[in-house]
Structures are given as structure tokens and as C-alpha cells.
């Protein structure tokens, strides 16, 4: 196998505590490798350690332990060389507010020592490609969130990085802007760029990433292609059942043929309204839904909602953690 574009080995980051607050272990031993040209995703809730991991890769956070190699270059020992190979689209839209959009790009080119002709040409081409050419002479803060995000990507591409890291790039964008951004990222991937994305949107991870690590509490819970992750679920489909029940329902449902597993879902925000949410991993077969409803009614329970869907990444996540993704 050729050298990985990124290698993270046993990465640990503990933020030291203050007088009042204890030390926080944001990343507790993460390892993964990303192949050249791969689109890799870190999926997990806020506070899972995704941004800290990206911070360590980009030299903005000092790792407590572990090793990170970008294209074979150790980011802690040789940060300047590593920084030439990576680019970051940060979660905060941190465009230089004192410059115009075009200057943001050309100055970024200067920082990386691009000759004048190259940086001017590349800036114009990227502004065009990312559909922000008409805003070239505007100040970044006057742009919409989606446009700022595209300028951030254009800026990141100015020095022709080998590895592009995106930290929650679509958070706060409207659906249209989000789709446009997805198209941009897919096009970059087709062109051979290695991309690493963090997100807490399941759909985004599913659509874009070739391989995913699901992260929670600073650790990788599982890592595979989205399809393979979904296959790890028992049964072939998910039956979501919301009921108001007096008597325990699970023992009755467990006897039904085709029900591989039943999980109780802790759901957030809907309060103590007495509604129980069950997730059944089932082999879809004729009459299964009928039997489930029959048993439920037989137990004197009141069915509030029922749905039968193919498994999604969210189901994988719930299966792994026993809870819905914290938004």
C-alpha cells in the first residue's frame, strides 16, 4: 500500500484544568489512516472530539500523546512542512475582514510563496469555480453564510494542498446552500483531492464519505464504509414503534419470528409523556407488520407511530450508543 495521506496513531488530547474546572480528555486514543484520494468522515455529536482531532492534524492544537503524519511528515516535529500539505476549512468563518474576497485569496497565496502570476490566475479561477466571482471585491462579512463557506474553500485550495480538512462545513447553512456545497466537495473528490470531513449530519456523511469513523466521547466506536456499517445491524430493516403501553411489551414482541433484536431508544426533548419508543431490527417478510401490531394491541398498548425503513447511519449510531445523536 502506498503511504497514507494521513496517519493518526493513538492520538490523545487532554485540556489541562483550571483552578475550578477539572482537566478534560477531549480525545482519548484515536487511530486511523486515510488513503490518498479518499473521502473520509468523522461523524459524531458536538463535543465528541472531532474538532480537537482536526486541530491536532492542522497543528492548531498540541497533542498530549500520539503521532500524526501528513503525507509522511510529522506535524509536531515539522509543522511548517506539514502545513504546506494541508488546508483547513474551519467551523468558524474566519475570513480576514480587512481584505476583499479576492485579496483574501491572493494574500493566502503570498503566505505560501506563490509567484504573482500563479496566485492571481488561481484566485480568479477559484472564484469562478466556486461561484463567488461577482463578490471578488466585496468584504467577506457582507457575504451570506453559504458564500463565505465557498470563499473559505477557495482560500484553502489556493496553495494546492494534498489534504483538505473541513470542520462541520454545512452547519448553519440553508438546504440549498448545503446541496451546492456537497456538489463542490464531490467535484473536488473526483479530481483526486483527499478530503476529511467532520459532521454531525448523518445524511451528509452517508452521501459524501467513502469511509466513516463514528466518534463519541473522544473515541472511535466503529469505522467502515457507510454500506458496511449499515450491514452490521441485525435484521435487514428497521421498524420504529412508538407506543403508550401499560404492560411490558418487549417479551411479547421478542417471540415474533423475524424480529432479530429490540432496542429501547432514549429520546430527548419529548418529555415524560408516557410514550415509549422501540426500535425493532427485523427481516422484512409477509405479515410481519400485522403480527407486530397484533401483539401490541394484544398487550393493550396504544400505537402512536409506526414506520418501516431501510437502515440508515442514524440507526447504526443509535445501535452503538443507545441514544439519538445529540444535536
Amino acid at each position: 500500500m502506498s503511504e497514507p495521506a494521513l496517519l493518526v496513531e493513538d492520538l490523545v488530547k487532554t485540556y489541562p484544568g483550571g483552578r475550578k474546572d477539572p482537566a478534560v480528555e477531549a480525545v482519548g486514543g484515536i487511530s486511523f489512516a486515510v488513503a490518498p484520494g479518499e473521502f473520509f468522515g468523522l461523524l459524531g455529536p458536538n463535543g465528541a472530539g472531532k474538532s480537537t482531532t482536526l486541530g491536532c492534524i492542522t497543528t492548531l492544537v498540541r497533542p498530549s500523546a500520539g503521532r500524526i503524519l501528513v503525507d509522511g511528515v510529522d506535524v509536531v516535529r515539522r509543522p511548517a512542512e506539514a502545513k504546506r500539505r494541508i488546508a483547513l476549512v474551519p467551523q468558524n468563518r474566519n475570513l480576514d475582514r480587512d481584505l476583499t474576497v479576492r485579496e483574501v485569496l491572493t494574500y493566502h497565496g503570498r503566505y505560501f510563496g506563490l509567484p504573482a502570476a500563479e496566485r492571481e490566475g488561481r484566485a480568479d479561477r477559484l472564484l469562478e469555480e466556486l461561484q463567488v466571482a461577482d463578490k471578488a471585491h466585496a468584504k467577506p462579512l457582507t457575504l451570506s453564510g453559504g458564500m463565505q463557506q465557498r470563499v473559505l474553500i477557495a482560500r484553502a485550495l489556493m496553495h494546492d494542498p494534498k489534504l483538505l480538512l473541513l470542520d462541520e462545513p454545512t452547519t448553519g447553512l440553508d438546504p440549498q446552500a448545503r446541496r451546492l456545497l456537497w456538489d463542490v466537495l464531490k467535484a473536488l473528490h473526483r479530481r483526486g483531492l483527499t478530503l476529511i470531513l467532520t459532521t454531525h449530519y448523518m445524511e451528509e456523511a452517508d452521501r459524501l464519505c467513502q469511509r466513516l469513523a463514528i466518534v463519541d466521547h473522544g473515541r472511535i466506536l466503529t469505522m467502515d464504509t457507510p454500506a458496511a456499517l449499515k450491514k452490521t445491524l441485525p435484521g435487514g430493516e428497521i421498524l420504529d414503534l412508538w407506543v403508550r403501553a401499560e404492560a411490558p411489551l418487549r417479551p411479547r414482541l421478542e417471540t415474533i419470528e423475524g424480529v432479530a433484536r429490540i432496542e429501547h431508544v432514549e429520546s430527548h426533548g419529548d418529555g415524560d409523556d408516557g410514550i415509549e419508543r422501540l426500535r425493532l431490527f427485523v427481516d422484512s417478510r409477509d405479515g410481519l407488520l400485522d403480527r407486530v401490531l397484533h401483539e401490541t394491541r394484544g398487550a393493550g398498548a396504544d400505537v402512536r407511530h409506526v414506520s418501516l425503513t431501510p437502515p440508515s447511519l442514524e440507526d447504526v449510531y443509535i445501535h452503538l450508543t443507545g441514544k439519538e445523536l445529540r444535536e
Binding site: G55, L60, R62, K83, P90, R93, N94, R110, Y111, G113
Partner: protein
């Protein structure tokens, strides 16, 4: 080096664009002080004539100190704000200390320009300059102004990297105010022998060396600190503050 020069170029580009605003901000105060204490009061014979000579280099040093501190403090506040614009700089192929030093050099240029513009303006506004001791020694002036600029900006970095931006107003009242009053701007350090050993406590204030340096360069005929002590003070404080400031900057930016 390329990245360092590019970052500096960006800072100077932005500063040049805002030049009228920046100069108005730093020149208003010394101009008003000169008008009152160097022009009106001497005319009314409420202030001795010698005071004008003593005050002019002192005001120049205050102007540079304020310009240098603000020239670093304000961009740093933006850098470290919620959006962390500083990350763009930190991702440039250059060390963190290099990024910090770039800010110091930009602030120093700001301070030096402010000082060099303030001097002729103040000379112009002063009452009966012809009879005074103001005779700038241009050869000594430029290198000393450069050193004073670096010292001011390094002080700005130390303050900006250690103090939350929301407290910067307090900084001017509690740190810079007393510093200016006890910075030998309005009296020569040599004359403080009247205070006994307390005279040496004043040497803890970096502004003292700046005021004395300007005295040497602008009013060479008046009493001032000997050059070796002056140079040691400017270079020593400049070096220590750059070191302390860039360390604090690194702690603040790299988590």
C-alpha cells in the same frame, strides 16, 4: 521568510488603507497637549519656557508608545475574537513565534511613523520654537525611533496576549496612564536625583528609556541619560517583552 514578509505586507496594506483613521487616533492627543502646554500656557507665563523643551521629546515617546501598543492590541483583538482570524496566520508555513513577531514589526512601523509625523507637527505648533533647545539630531533619531517602535509594539503584544480584549479599556486607565505620568515624559530622568534612590525605581518603566532616547535625539543640549544605559534599557526591555509576549501569544493560540 516568505511567509513572514507576506504577513507583514498584509498588515501594512491594511494599515495604509486605514492610515487617516490611525493617524488621527494617535496624533490628536499630543497635538492638543502641545497646544495647551507648549503654546497657550507659555504665552500666559503660567509655564516656564524650559518646559516646552523638556516636554516635546516626552510627548513624542508617548505618541510612539500609544501607537505601538494600539498597533498590536487592536489587530490582536480581531485575531483572537470568536471567529479566530488568527488561525489563517497560524496555518501559514511559519512558526507561531514568527506570526507573533510579525505583529510586533507591523506595530513598530506604525509607532515609528506616528512618532516621525508627530515631531514636525508639534514643532510647528509650539510657541517660540526658535529660542528653544529643540535641534533634532537626525542621525541619532532614526535608529532610536526604530528601537522605541519595537519596544512599544512588544509591550502591546505582551498586553494583548495576556489580557482579554474586553479589559483593554481598563488597560489604558490602569497600566498606560500611570506609565505615561511616571515615564519621564514631562521631566528629565537626570533631574530625579531630588527623589534620592527612588530615582532608580523609575527605570522599571520602559517609557523612561524612550523619553530619554528622544531627549538625546531631539533636544541633545538638555540633560539626558548616557547612551549606553539608554541603549541597554531599550534593547533589554524590547527583547524581554518580545519574548514574554510571543510566549503568551503561543499559549493563547495553540491549545
Amino acid at each position: 521568510m516568505t511567509a513572514f514578509m507576506a504577513l507583514l505586507r498584509r498588515d501594512l496594506h491594511v494599515a495604509a488603507r486605514n492610515a487617516p483613521l490611525l493617524l488621527t487616533g494617535t496624533l490628536t492627543q499630543p497635538i492638543l497637549v502641545v497646544l495647551v502646554f507648549g503654546n497657550i500656557l507659555p504665552r500666559l507665563h503660567l509655564v516656564a519656557d524650559e518646559f516646552r523643551t523638556v516636554m516635546l521629546p516626552g510627548l513624542m515617546s508617548i505618541t510612539m508608545m500609544m501607537a505601538g501598543v494600539q498597533g498590536v492590541l487592536m489587530p490582536l483583538a480581531t485575531d483572537l475574537s470568536g471567529t479566530r482570524e488568527v488561525d489563517e496566520r497560524l496555518l501559514a508555513p511559519i512558526g507561531v513565534r514568527g506570526v507573533a513577531f510579525g505583529r510586533v514589526v507591523a506595530g513598530a512601523i506604525h509607532a515609528a511613523v506616528a512618532g516621525l509625523v508627530a515631531l514636525p507637527v508639534m514643532m510647528l505648533l509650539m510657541h517660540r520654537l526658535a529660542g528653544s533647545d529643540v535641534r533634532p539630531d537626525w542621525v541619532a533619531l532614526f535608529p532610536l525611533v526604530a528601537l522605541c517602535g519595537l519596544l512599544s509594539a512588544a509591550f502591546g503584544l505582551t498586553l494583548g496576549a495576556n489580557v482579554e480584549p474586553r479589559f483593554s479599556g481598563l488597560l489604558f486607565a490602569v497600566v498606560l496612564g500611570p506609565m505615561m505620568l511616571f515615564g519621564c515624559a514631562y521631566y528629565p530622568w537626570a533631574a530625579l536625583t531630588v527623589l534620592g534612590p527612588l530615582q532608580y525605581v523609575f527605570l522599571l518603566n520602559p517609557l523612561v528609556f524612550m523619553s530619554e532616547a528622544m531627549r538625546l535625539a531631539v533636544t541633545p543640549g538638555t540633560p539626558h541619560m548616557p547612551l549606553p544605559l539608554l541603549f541597554a534599557g531599550l534593547a533589554g526591555f524590547g527583547f524581554i517583552l518580545t519574548l514574554v509576549g510571543s510566549r503568551a501569544f503561543e499559549r493563547r493560540t495553540i491549545l
